[in-house]
């Protein structure tokens, strides 16, 4: 990889950054000289831009809609105000203090709310936002209550106080542009991809090795810090704070900024904030109608521009793209799978011993044991409700097991989380395909590269800063995913949404996604259900090719001919128990199996 190549890659990946920012700068300076844009709007736009960057990272990427950020924003602002008034601490120091407070609070709130699903997460964060607002109003001895708190000094750099709008604006825009770059790079990196994967489907993301819990928590904390910084700058700029700036109406303003700009794009936030800061100038003589106007605007935007201005621009660009080649003419060429390393143990790769799982009073999997050997395809059949999929969920860690143990290469892996098991080298597909709808096809395949994202702050820093190691792995992931797409004749569709691809190909993409993570064991759950004959043949070839390259496969399937033709060994389940085990020829003549399938 040459230096030029890296620069070229960076420019192309962060194209929006290099296009949007100069255009924005030119347009806003023209408007400023024409007298339509006040310096006040320019400065506050940058402040709110910082807040929305964090909010968009949280919602647009990870899909967590927080109503509590107005609380983090308020704490950032009030820590500057209170520390200046009570202890005469400078604004930079108190900004850091505010951020530390917010890190602690967001960690605690995250522990409480992140394990809750959808609407309860919103309610919990909403409760936090309202509590902060109420506490500010009630604790008037410290915060000044409804009267607000003034006398916040402007920060000093090199002994010069940034009192003019120009000097303060440079500080604020400096912060905003740096954070914009970092956030944008992060959203385009493997962390951003993992976050979008979580937004689409948490279970599938964790099965690809993404540490869902940690990633969500760290993004939540980071976005709280952004809100805190924005709040501190807001307080410094205004020189005073007032509880009205942190009410429910502000929450709505923040959400409106994000949704009007275009959630999930990061750069849309720039347009959204500027528009919302301009709004008072536009609606200047509406007065009381302002709330009504905001409400109507919000309602209209949600329905007319559900993806905001930025989304509308992307939709427009999509129209000018050249039409793609037809799909699925040649299904599968060579399978670009490479086994990362040979199995550590000879013979048995995966050993199941006495696996059991209860659902209430039902014993869905009852004392099942078998071995999966190297170089083999193991079939798993049985009537509906026999516990096949449950067994697969137990192995992959998507369901906790009640009894028994699972050994991969002699190591116990039962009780580990799904992402940890994925990192040990087990990948799976799902009965109903679970591709990530918020990612393009090539990104779907890239999620599992290098065993997903561990969600650590270190990894996020490396990706946001674009360090060489991150770029190298990013480019490798893209190349490998490109090979898979080429083999599926999908290269033209690399950047298409997953919805553009028909069912049969989606199932193949899901297999490619699992294989691109370079597993040593692949679990396939009802792979060919709903596929036509030619697709089944294609699938059979893929699975055989994978086995020949050294991948061990366990497959669940109802199509008996398919299984008998493909598998080296078969286990039969019925009512949660294993009733037979052997080669296809043995299973074919087994009386118990006949009974289970035909009844007597």
């Amino acid at each position: 990889m040459t230096l030029l190549g890296v620069v070229n890659y960076l420019v192309r990946r962060n194209a929006a950054f290099f296009i949007v920012l100069p255009v924005y700068a030119v347009v806003s300076s023209v408007l400023y000289w024409a007298g339509w844009l006040h310096s006040d709007v320019i400065v506050t736009s940058a402040i709110f831009f910082i807040v929305i960057l964090g909010l968009d990272l949280l919602y647009g990427c990870a899909g967590l809609l927080s109503f509590g950020h107005v609380g983090f924003f308020a704490i950032g602002a009030y820590s500057v105000a209170v520390l200046a008034a009570q202890f005469a601490i400078g604004p930079f120091e108190s900004t850091v203090v505010g951020m530390l407070i917010n890190v602690v609070l967001s960690y605690v709130l995250g522990r409480v709310c992140l394990r809750l699903s959808g609407s309860y997460f919103m309610l919990g964060t909403l409760a936090f936002g309202i509590m902060v607002h109420a506490t500010i109003t009630v604790a008037y001895t410290v915060t000044g209550g409804d009267g607000g708190l003034g006398g916040i000094p402007r920060p000093q750099i090199g002994g010069v106080a940034l009192t003019s709008d120009l000097s303060f604006g440079i500080l604020v825009w400096g912060c905003a542009i740096i954070l914009f770059w970092l956030t944008y790079s992060l959203s385009k990196s493997k962390v951003g991809r993992a976050a979008r994967a979580i937004r689409s489907d948490e279970v599938a993301a964790s099965c690809l090795g993404v540490d869902v819990g940690r990633l969500k928590m760290n993004i939540f904390i980071i976005s709280a810090c952004f809100a805190s910084l924005g709040g501190s700058l807001f307080a410094m700029y205004n020189g005073a704070v007032h509880p009205d700036s942190f009410s429910l109406a502000t929450l709505l303003d923040l959400l409106l900024m994000m949704f009007f700009g275009g959630e999930g794009t990061i750069w849309g936030a720039l347009l959204g904030t500027t528009f919302m800061r301009l709004l008072p100038d536009i609606t200047g003589n509406l007065h009381g109608g302002k709330i009504l106007f905001t409400g109507i605007l919000f309602t209209v935007i949600i329905f007319v521009l559900p993806r905001g201005i930025a989304g509308a621009i992307y939709d427009l660009l999509e129209r000018f793209k050249k039409p793609r080649a037809d799909l699925g003419k040649t299904l599968v060429g060579d399978v670009p799978f490479t086994l990362e390393r040979p199995a550590a143990t000879a013979g048995v790769l995966l050993r199941l011993e006495g696996l059991s799982r209860n659902f209430g009073g039902v014993r869905a999997v009852d004392d099942v044991s078998f071995n999966v050997r190297n170089g083999k395809i193991r079939g798993l059949i049985g009537p509906n409700g026999a516990g096949k999929s449950t067994l697969m969920n137990l192995i992959s860690g998507t369901l906790p097991l009640n009894e028994g143990c699972v050994k991969l290469e002699g190591r116990n892996i039962e009780g580990l989380g799904a992402h940890e098991i994925a990192r040990q080298g087990i990948q799976r597909t799902f009965q109903h395909e679970r591709l990530f709808s918020h990612l393009t096809i090539i990104e779907n395949i890239m999620v599992g590269h290098e065993r997903g994202a561990d969600g650590s702050l270190r990894e996020m820093a490396v990706c946001a800063l674009g360090l060489p190691s991150a770029l190298k792995s990013e480019i490798a992931a893209r190349q490998e995913a490109g090979k898979w797409l080429a083999s599926l004749a999908l290269s033209d569709y690399a950047d298409a949404a997953i919805g553009k691809v028909p069912h049969g190909l989606r199932k193949l993409v899901e297999v490619a996604r699992a294989c691109a993570a370079r597993p040593i064991l692949l679990l396939l759950d009802e792979t060919v259900a709903g596929l036509n004959d030619s697709e089944r043949v294609a699938f059979k070839n893929v699975i055989r090719a994978l086995r020949d390259k050294g991948l061990v496969i366990v497959i669940i399937e109802h199509d008996i001919d398919f299984i008998m033709d493909l598998c080296d060994e078969i286990s039969v389940l019925n009512f949660g128990r294993k009733i037979a085990d052997g080669t296809p020829a043995e299973i074919r003549v087994d009386s118990q199996v006949k009974e289970a399938y035909l009844g007597t």
Partner: protein, 293 residues
């Protein structure tokens, strides 16, 4: 002793209001799975309409009451239509979109109330003036009406949901909207009906509470939060949940007033939110619901 009874009764009366708003919330949530953040607005707007009809147009109370309920029902149907503008029975509205659009409607209603009735708090007409002494505590007739209405509405709703075809259809939509659609239930009409019903229950709460707390345009969010809280504390039980949760919430808020030196503002705002967060931590399924396996 007197003050204890006094506090208990005012707690129950306040709790009845929360319970009613929670019930309205529960009815709409049950049939559509939409968390309607605009639920509090029906109480505010219903209360304002009632107040205007009685004090400005001099209409008799029952007539004004019916008009207020009709307006609220209209708003409820409008909410349902707006939220589901782009959905089909087999393609329900996404959770985020539903919450966002009802949040937008909350603000829209707030703005409308501000334009029509101004920013000053207004006191609504009481159904019956005067007080009565119960165990030495003075209780206003209005509180008694409030508690009685909550009881009657809860019982009526229970019978309606269990015994009538529409009630059963609503419960089936709650469980599986698509299947209900395939079985010939008009899911959208049932949804609209549920929203209308929920809105009228909310408006009743607003009318009952207006002489006690006074109404102002910003109360929608407060009502909504306490209603949701009542629903969450009770657990996902259609009728009993919000009633138990609402009464408990009212009692807790008022019992704290017995502690000397406790300030009202903190209790009114911080304590409910604290309860909500604690509930989400320890019993997200609510008090009445068993922990799911």
């Amino acid at each position: 002793m007197d003050s204890v009874v006094q506090v208990l009764i005012s707690g129950l009366s306040q709790g009845s209001i929360y319970a009613l708003i929670g019930l309205g919330f529960s009815v709409a949530f049950m049939a559509s799975r939409i968390l309607n953040l605009a639920q509090g607005s029906y109480a505010v707007l219903g209360g304002f309409v009632f107040l205007t009809m009685v004090s400005s147009y001099r209409l008799p109370m029952p007539v004004a009451f019916v008009i207020a309920l009709l307006v609220a029902a209209g708003l409820g149907i409008a909410t349902e239509r707006i939220v589901n503008l782009r959905t089909r029975p087999w393609k329900p509205v996404s959770l985020d979109m539903a919450i966002l659009s009802t949040l937008a409607l909350l603000v829209l209603f707030e703005g409308a109330a501000f334009l029509l009735w101004g920013s000053d708090p207004k006191r609504g007409p009481s159904i019956q003036n005067g007080v009565v002494s119960i165990f030495g505590a003075l209780v206003s007739w209005q509180s008694i009406w409030t508690m009685a209405s909550a009881a009657v509405i809860a019982i009526g709703l229970h019978v309606f949901l269990k015994k009538t075809w529409v009630g059963r259809a609503m419960r089936s939509c709650a469980q599986n909207a698509m299947m209900s659609h395939l079985l010939g239930i008009n899911v959208r009409r049932i949804g609209a009906f549920a929203f209308a019903l929920g809105a009228t229950i909310g408006a009743t709460a607003g009318i009952l509470v207006s002489p006690i707390t006074w109404l102002d345009y910003q109360l929608g969010g407060f009502f909504m939060l306490n209603g949701i809280l009542a629903y969450l504390i009770g657990g996902e039980e259609d009728v009993a949940g919000p009633i138990v949760g609402g009464l408990l919430l009212g009692l807790v808020q008022n019992i704290f007033l017995l502690i000397p030196g406790a300030t009202g503002g903190l209790l009114k705002q911080v304590v409910p939110m604290l309860i909500l967060i604690l509930m989400l931590v320890f019993r997200p399924q609510g008090l009445l619901q068993q922990r799911r396996a």
